[in-house]
């Protein structure tokens, strides 16, 4: 979706402000929201791609008005409500009002440890040969789905070069919406900065992004 989360190249947000000796969390509720999100993600009730969409699918004022972990919280509440696990009236009441639905999986301490250590690799067996190889010139398609995508606006319709080929990976655009993993070849595609930002931009800059094959065509 063309949401405000897709920020590459936007103006007006001001300087980057690093915080000296920044703590990992800035409030206790951030710790809890972080851990609850990971633990619920581990139940398998939704995919990581669905959780990213739940965090980005907001009107710009709502997205920009929240801190990072407020966004995680909003995404978690939405996923829980959509799947009938926790409803809005329960959050308002602060306690369960409706019976629990049994889950296939709940993350206990050993499972949390396994989650941390092994993660959830997105690598999959390739369903077909790769269409592109390192060094190929490719053009990104001009796609504007209202659904989840990892093709940022600032690289659409641009010509670049394949610099890395990573095998096949779960395709977020489909997986986020319950369509299955639909593995696709994944490439790193590099663009000259001037091909993205025009003739007045810094000639020493190049920018790459990680591109699933359906985002690309031969140039």
């Amino acid at each position: 979706m063309n949401g405000v989360h897709d920020m590459g190249g936007m103006h007006g947000f001001g300087p980057v402000e690093p915080e000296p000796d920044e703590p990992v969390f800035h409030a206790d509720w951030e710790r809890r929201a972080f851990a609850l999100t990971l633990a619920m993600g581990g139940t398998g009730q939704w995919t990581i791609d669905a959780s990213r969409f739940a965090r980005e699918d907001w009107a710009p004022p709502e997205y920009l008005g929240r801190t990072y972990y407020e966004m995680w919280l909003a995404g978690l509440e939405r996923l829980l409500a959509e799947r009938g696990l926790v409803s809005g009236d329960e959050v308002e009441a602060g306690r369960p009002l409706h019976p629990a639905r049994p889950l296939d999986r709940v993350v206990d301490a050993p499972a949390a440890m396994r989650m941390v250590r092994s993660g959830g690799p997105s690598n999959r067996e390739a369903p077909r040969p790769a269409a592109f190889a390192t060094g190929d010139r490719v053009r990104t398609r001009n796609l504007n789905p209202p659904t989840h995508t990892r093709l940022p606006r600032y690289v659409r319709g641009k010509v670049g070069t394949v610099v890395l080929v990573h095998g096949a990976h779960v395709f977020p655009d489909v997986n986020a919406h319950g369509g299955g993993e639909d593995p696709q070849w994944l490439y790193t595609v590099r663009f000259a900065g001037r091909d993205l930002w025009g003739p007045d931009s810094d000639p020493t800059v190049s920018v790459s992004f990680d591109a699933f094959e359906p985002y690309l065509e031969a140039a």
Partner: protein
């Protein structure tokens, strides 16, 4: 995104109240095990962090064989040191040289190599960084107090999929013969994102 926080004052903010409500409901419904929450928080608050990545970089500085392996197959080389797991399943190591400077961003969200760097700082997830890292990386570097020679090539990597990037900064001059332990102390978090350089010996002198 907004920068305000809600931990000031004694009254519970709406956000604090909602998180507390969710934790109560999820626990009482049996969806969440409190012991698992403790493991997750303890891991990312105290165990995993940029000290892990610093060990990888220091080893790459002293061990040419490891260095070659790291740039050929970053995931395997980093796994060999035990830094493996969630949000680091596929790590690509990027080599900074006097001629080429790499910088990593996630313009769409907050993708970051957790096993080697821990959880990302607020600025990495913020609108100013995500918007400008790809269009004005030199300006962003200046925000960090870093000025590169004007002919240095800058390569920005937007991590839009499940690959995670680790920058290996240039080894500072004046560190010949240093141990891995001493070198690791020069490897800052920002130098492994590409918004900083490794510290010089005089910057860490006790």
């Amino acid at each position: 995104m907004a920068h305000h926080d809600h931990d000031h004052g004694s009254e519970l903010s709406e956000t604090q109240r909602r998180v507390r409500a969710l934790e109560t409901i999820l626990t009482e419904k049996g969806y969440v095990d409190p012991a698992a929450l403790d493991v997750l928080i303890e891991t990312y608050e105290t165990k995993v962090g940029p000290h892990n990545g610093a060990r990888v970089v220091a080893k790459a500085w002293v061990d040419p064989e490891f260095r070659a392996w790291l740039f050929a197959d970053g995931g395997a080389a980093i796994t060999s040191l035990g830094y493996v797991g969630r949000q680091g399943e596929n790590v690509v190591a990027l080599e900074n040289t006097p001629d080429v400077h790499n910088m990593v961003v996630c313009t769409l969200c907050s993708c970051y190599p957790w096993p080697v760097l821990g959880l990302p700082p607020v600025w990495y997830k913020s609108a100013p960084y995500r918007s400008r890292a790809v269009s004005d990386p030199r300006g962003v570097l200046r925000d960090f107090g870093v000025e590169l020679p004007e002919d240095t090539e800058i390569r920005v990597w937007d991590s839009t999929a499940e690959l995670r990037y680790l920058v290996v900064p240039v080894r500072p001059e004046g560190t010949e013969g240093w141990s891995e332990d001493d070198l690791a102390a020069l490897v800052t978090r920002d130098s492994m994102i590409g918004t900083g350089l490794a510290a010089r010996p005089e910057q860490v002198a006790a």
